[in-house]
């Protein structure tokens, strides 16, 4: 009770007077406390996020730049400052450019069909179905299968020998595909894994956006004689523009960092004998933890970061343009 302690020395003679004075002071103190409560609480509540994000997210990302300017070994630690030598070295490596190409190829093979198929599935799910929830849950099952498990399963499905896909091709009278040695074929197989896991998820996002479109727009289109296909292309898709942009950008950010599926596409995990499917994140791993060169690994991480920003931006402009054209037709 510090309040009473402070009140007493002021020498109040009458008991009553002292009492009233004391309670006034108490209210004042509690008001002051409450003001601090109002002022400080919000900052207190948001601080765990900002502190932890700063330490585990932002700082490492920025410090990557510092590491990339040094000789830096996994075990030896920080060496001397070497300027842009790591970048020079990395940019001169055929494996770096190979990884850039592989990453872009797998990204394109997965993101474009992913968005298109998700839109189509969403359109089907948007019909007035019986057992809606059942179908919606059905398309989401792959989402709970870990990418590593997906990778292992598809690695077997796409096995060069005795793989189901090649057996089916043989049944159709076609030659087997060398999924684990041909570069484009391996990209196709890996892209299939990504698509398998994310199409249903994205379809549900599109479905939600479709249901937010006012129904009278479709009624007007029906009265104007537009077929359902025409309605889908000329009404649904343009009106989903913000959602398509959202999905395209999130799949860019995720897709360009792909690691899990190609990592388990063979035993060694380095991306094939000639690095046919080594992606940039796998290359970062090989430099950093395979060759123990943190400086070079950081240089690649920064380059990949720039690439992601650039492509996300390009993606944004492109998607907006496509959606705009759809709207104008």
């Amino acid at each position: 009770m510090t309040v009473t302690d402070r009140v007493r020395p002021q020498g109040q003679s009458a008991d009553e007077e002292q009492h009233s004075n004391r309670s006034v002071r108490r209210i004042a103190v509690s008001q002051r406390l409450s003001r601090w409560d109002i002022k400080l609480s919000p900052y207190l509540y948001i601080s765990p996020f900002f502190l932890l994000f700063a330490v585990t997210g932002l700082f490492p990302l920025l410090y990557t730049g510092w590491v990339s300017l040094h000789n830096w070994n996994l075990i030896g630690g920080q060496g001397r400052f070497i300027g842009l030598d790591n970048f020079g070295f990395v940019l001169g490596q055929p494996y770096f450019w190979n990884a850039v190409g592989n990453t872009l190829s797998i990204f394109l093979l997965s993101s474009v069909p992913q968005v298109v198929l998700a839109l189509l599935i969403a359109a089907v799910l948007d019909a007035n179905l019986r057992a809606k929830t059942f179908w919606r849950m059905g398309v989401l099952v792959p989402f709970v299968v870990a990418p590593v498990a997906v990778g292992l399963i598809f690695n077997n499905l796409f096995a060069d020998q005795f793989g189901l896909v090649n057996e089916l091709l043989a049944l159709a009278g076609l030659d087997p595909v060398r999924w684990h040695s041909d570069q484009l074929a391996s990209h196709l197989a890996i892209a299939t894994m990504v698509n398998f896991r994310w199409i249903g998820y994205n379809a549900l996002i599109f479905l939600a956006a479709m249901q937010a479109i006012p129904r009278d727009v479709f009624e007007a289109a029906t009265i104007d004689g537009a077929s359902r296909v025409r309605q889908f292309l000329s009404v649904t898709v343009p009106m989903l523009r913000p959602t398509v942009i959202f999905v395209a950008i999130t799949s860019t950010i995720g897709g360009l960092q792909i690691f899990d599926e190609p990592r388990v596409f063979d035993q060694s995990g380095l991306g094939g004998a000639d690095r046919q499917w080594q992606t940039l994140t796998m290359y970062i791993w090989e430099l950093g933890w395979g060759q123990r060169n943190f400086g070079r690994a950081s240089a690649v991480a920064w380059l990949l970061f720039l690439m992601i920003v650039l492509i996300a931006l390009l993606n944004f402009l492109l998607t907006r343009r496509i959606a705009d054209q759809g709207g104008r037709k």
């Binding site: 490492p60 990302l61 089907v124 943190f294």
Partner: protein, 311 residues
């Protein structure tokens, strides 16, 4: 309806027929049951639609079935031709999985890491979301924009310094190295802010404040209960994301003390790979999340759909 004879008299037979048609069409299509959300109005879709959906469903489930199929035969079954029905070898293969990787330890680790991460993300996100959605403070707008911007930052690219930090702390190989970097997410803060903004009336906070509750009491007695549905979904998504996460745990954890995905890929790292064992392991590692999906798949679906509309 009464106007149709009048149209016939004034504008002729054809116009009356057209008018009748126009009037009747909506009447015929008026919903008798169902809620009429489909693009095609309230019309029930035909077998073609269900056929297409059936094919999609088959494609979603087939790889898992294939995994079980191969996992229930022996190592040479595939070379003898594609099996159509499961064999009786699953338990034997499962036993080999338990022999070759620390499966149960990995399962326990995954359970621990995912639960703690989900709890921490929900707690910190709800707290921050409460502040952003309901409390007035200097810089709140700018800070929220910062949070949203960080959602798009590929923090995975900071692995090298993160590893250096963990090594300095002596945490490499420990589960803390996986838990702490996942303990907050920008998405979580954004999600809870969006939800609480609509779900929690300002009057309610004012009322408990008038009754003399402190800020943290207001959060605990009014804010958190209001946030519960969104918090449950956030917990679910964080759990799944943490359970399936591979890249960072693979870098920072030892093969002797792994999470499930890290342990699972070890099955394939041996010299001789028996795919019946590998795929039996893939099935075993997926079962916990399939159980979760059966229990809470409905919430996952509505979580994704709500997130799409708000985000």
């Amino acid at each position: 309806m009464s106007s149709i004879p009048m149209i016939r008299q004034t504008a002729g037979e054809g116009a009356a027929a057209a008018a009748a048609k126009r009037l009747n069409r909506p009447a015929r299509r008026r919903p008798t049951h169902g809620r009429g959300r489909g693009t095609g109005g309230v019309r029930r879709p035909g077998p073609l639609t269900y056929g297409a959906l059936g094919a999609v469903l088959l494609a979603s489930l087939f790889p898992l079935y294939w995994s079980f199929l191969v996992g229930s035969h022996d190592s040479t079954a595939l070379s003898r031709g594609i099996p159509l029905l499961p064999g009786g070898n699953f338990l034997a293969n499962a036993a080999k999985v338990f022999d070759s990787i620390p499966f149960w330890k990995a399962m326990g680790n995954s359970l621990l890491v995912s639960t703690v991460t989900a709890g921490s993300v929900v707690a910190f996100s709800t707290l921050a979301g409460f502040a952003f959605a309901k409390l007035r403070f200097r810089g709140s707008k700018g800070l929220l924009v910062f949070v949203i911007a960080t959602m798009a930052v590929p923090t995975q690219l900071g692995v090298v310094p993160l590893f250096i930090v963990m090594a300095k702390l002596g945490w490499t190989g420990s589960l803390w190295a996986v838990i702490i970097p996942g303990a907050v997410t920008a998405f979580g803060v954004f999600w809870m802010t969006q939800y609480l903004r609509d779900a929690l009336p300002d009057e309610l906070i004012e009322a408990v404040r008038m009754d003399g509750a402190s800020m943290i009491q207001a959060f605990w007695y009014v804010g958190f209960p209001a946030a519960r549905p969104a918090a449950a979904m956030l917990a679910l998504f964080t759990f799944v994301a943490t359970w399936t996460n591979f890249f960072w745990p693979f870098i920072v954890l030892d093969p002797s003390n792994p999470t499930l995905p890290v342990a699972l890929q070890l099955l394939q790292a041996a010299h001789f790979v028996d795919y019946s064992v590998v795929l039996a392991g893939a099935v075993l590692a997926t079962i916990p999340l399939l159980l979760l999906f059966i229990a809470a798949g409905r919430q996952l679906v509505s979580g994704i759909m709500q997130g799409a509309v708000k985000g």
